[in-house]
């Protein structure tokens, strides 16, 4: 899996002498918000140190997330998130490797807001699932803002919730992605 990610990063960033290097955008400070709205409890975690790379020519898109970088309001929530549900010591990372459909229609030299569909594989808790979600790509003065909001079913990723706390964790959690990417110049 690690080799696959490195190879994808290699392709996304085109370090093999690509003449299109100016079309790569990266950030190490993308934000991912996890929100569970269950009948008896609302749980929110935010990670502000997420790696994201976008190839504006091919539409390749990759996110790399460290689970232990999610911060929660309550210490107990953070402990449960890492130890009981995500099992962060065993599965420290989540990744998304995918592609933006119709990237050709976006002019990255011109300011504009574009609705897009992103398809790819989300790997979390050791489980890889294909996903297809709506997102927005906004070009602002040479920078790119990528946002998306979608839901995932935690059972799809083999995340089990003990019956004692069943009402406290939603079966589907909301994921909000917000990445402000800058042109990568090597």
């Amino acid at each position: 899996m690690k080799i696959k990610i490195i190879v994808t990063l290699w392709l996304v960033l085109g370090v093999a002498g690509s003449t299109l290097q100016a079309q790569k955008y990266i950030t190490k400070n993308a934000q991912i918000r996890f929100y569970s709205d269950a009948p008896t409890e609302k749980i929110e975690g935010i990670n502000k140190q997420v790696n994201c790379a976008l190839d504006a020519t091919t539409g390749d898109l990759i996110f790399k997330v460290l689970m232990q970088s999610f911060q929660f309001e309550k210490a107990l929530m953070q402990e449960h998130f890492n130890e009981n549900y995500m099992e962060s010591p065993t599965f420290p990372n989540a990744t998304f490797i995918g592609k933006i459909d119709g990237i050709d229609a976006i002019d990255f030299a011109k300011n504009g807001k574009h609705e897009v569909i992103v398809k790819g594989n989300l790997t979390m808790h050791g489980v890889t699932k294909p996903i297809s979600e709506n997102g927005i790509i906004e070009v602002i003065d040479g920078k790119v803002k990528a946002t998306s909001k979608f839901h995932i079913a935690i059972a799809d990723y083999n995340i089990s919730v003990p019956s004692a706390v069943m009402g406290k964790i939603a079966e589907k959690v909301e994921i909000t992605v917000d990445a402000s990417l800058e042109k990568f110049v090597k």
Binding site: I26, K64, Q71
Partner: protein
């Protein structure tokens, strides 16, 4: 008062006290004061980075979730969405700079902004892991000089 009523009253009071204590001390327990936690390891930034690059799984098992005191030459400081980040850059890679990145506790943002770039710096933080480009630490605080 009858004996069974006394027992019931005592159990009821113990139950209420237990529930309140559980809510206050367990459910609502505060995050630790990370800056006051003792470092589990004191290590040079370069040494830590090389350990993760050489064997991420083994280094993750050793360092993730541990308080580390990092020593090294401070290369970059960044402010992103109100988070201050200290960066020990150790090599150039696929994402540009690679090394050890530490997001600071907000109270230490001002101190970090005054820290001269290129100076030998000691920063303590909680290790979150390695994302193939950087070792990430959270809740950073500058060690007292």
């Amino acid at each position: 008062m009858k004996k069974w009523m006394k027992v019931f009253a005592i159990l009821f009071i113990l139950g209420v006290v237990g529930a309140v204590a559980g809510y206050v001390f367990i459910y609502n327990k505060p995050h630790p004061s990370y800056e006051k936690l003792k470092a589990d390891y004191t290590i040079q930034a370069g040494e830590l980075y090389r350990e993760f690059v050489a064997d991420a799984k083994s280094a993750s098992e050793k360092y993730n979730g541990k308080m580390l005191q990092i020593e090294g030459v401070l290369s970059v400081t960044e402010v992103s969405d109100s988070i201050s980040i200290a960066y020990f850059v150790l090599e150039e890679g696929m994402f540009g700079n690679q090394g050890v990145r530490i997001s600071m506790i907000p109270e230490y943002a001002n101190d970090l902004s005054k820290e001269p770039i290129g100076n030998q710096t000691k920063i303590k933080g909680l290790c979150a892991g390695f994302n193939d480009t950087d070792v990430i630490l959270e809740h950073g605080s500058l060690a007292k000089k």
